[in-house]
């Protein structure tokens, strides 16, 4: 299974990348995908409390299940306008 993962704003700075393709393993949810990345990029951990999760361009809860071909995005609190 392959999913696309997107990082925005300070999260892109923390990982040094804007997107990645990964195999999230068995029975993943969006929060566990984040945990995997936080293991590789410890700076991400500080963002977890304020993070919003999106799955295929819609806000979802941390326990939303991920399927093959999905696009998962980690969003810092927004500041447009």
């Amino acid at each position: 299974m392959t999913i696309r993962v997107l990082f925005f704003a300070s999260l892109a700075d923390a990982t040094g990348m804007r997107e990645a393709e990964v195999d999230p393993g068995l029975h993943p949810d969006v929060a566990s995908v984040f945990t995997e990345f936080a293991r590789k990029f410890p700076k991400l951990e500080a963002h977890r409390a304020s993070l919003l999760y999106a799955l295929n361009s819609e806000f979802v809860a941390p326990d939303a299940a991920v399927s093959d071909g999905d696009e998962v995005a980690f969003l810092p609190p927004v500041s447009g306008g």
Partner: protein, 136 residues
């Protein structure tokens, strides 16, 4: 009309595209880059978006505005990239028969945009730059 653009926003053109003879009010809100924030001098702001989702959310705000207020049409255009003070980062144009709904829905649209649309700004100062996240 819901767009993310990289060039200056032409509010008059949006207004002209929206307004019809049956309308009695046009309300326009522009969010503008300010030259100061948090006690520092801001030289520019860079706007970044999760574009596919941001567009979807702008459309969602428009649909809610049309349902919840007595308006005929609404346009929301947000600019991305690097902007300088006095330039508009966002424009909301509402047309309606009467002014109250136009004012109210404009306010609703900008307030909701600031909460749910995945766009982020980076403030650029003379001696550095900082992502602004939340606080709206």
């Amino acid at each position: 009309m819901f767009h993310l653009v990289r060039e200056p926003i032409d509010v008059e053109r949006i207004r002209d595209a929206l307004v019809r003879p049956e309308d009695g009010a046009v309300a326009v809100f522009q969010g503008v880059v300010r030259n100061h924030a948090r006690g520092r001098r801001v030289t520019a702001i860079e706007y970044h978006a999760y574009e596919s989702m941001a567009l979807r959310k702008l459309e969602e705000i428009g649909a809610r505005a049309r349902t919840e207020f007595a308006i005929r049409e609404i346009a929301i255009v947000h600019r991305l990239g690097r902007l300088e003070p006095t330039e508009a980062s966002v424009a909301i144009v509402v047309v309606s028969a009467h002014r109250a709904a136009a004012f109210d829905s404009c306010r609703f649209a900008i307030d909701t945009l600031k909460k749910i649309v995945p766009i982020w700004k980076k403030e650029i100062y003379e001696g550095g730059e900082v992502w602004i996240e939340g606080g709206n």
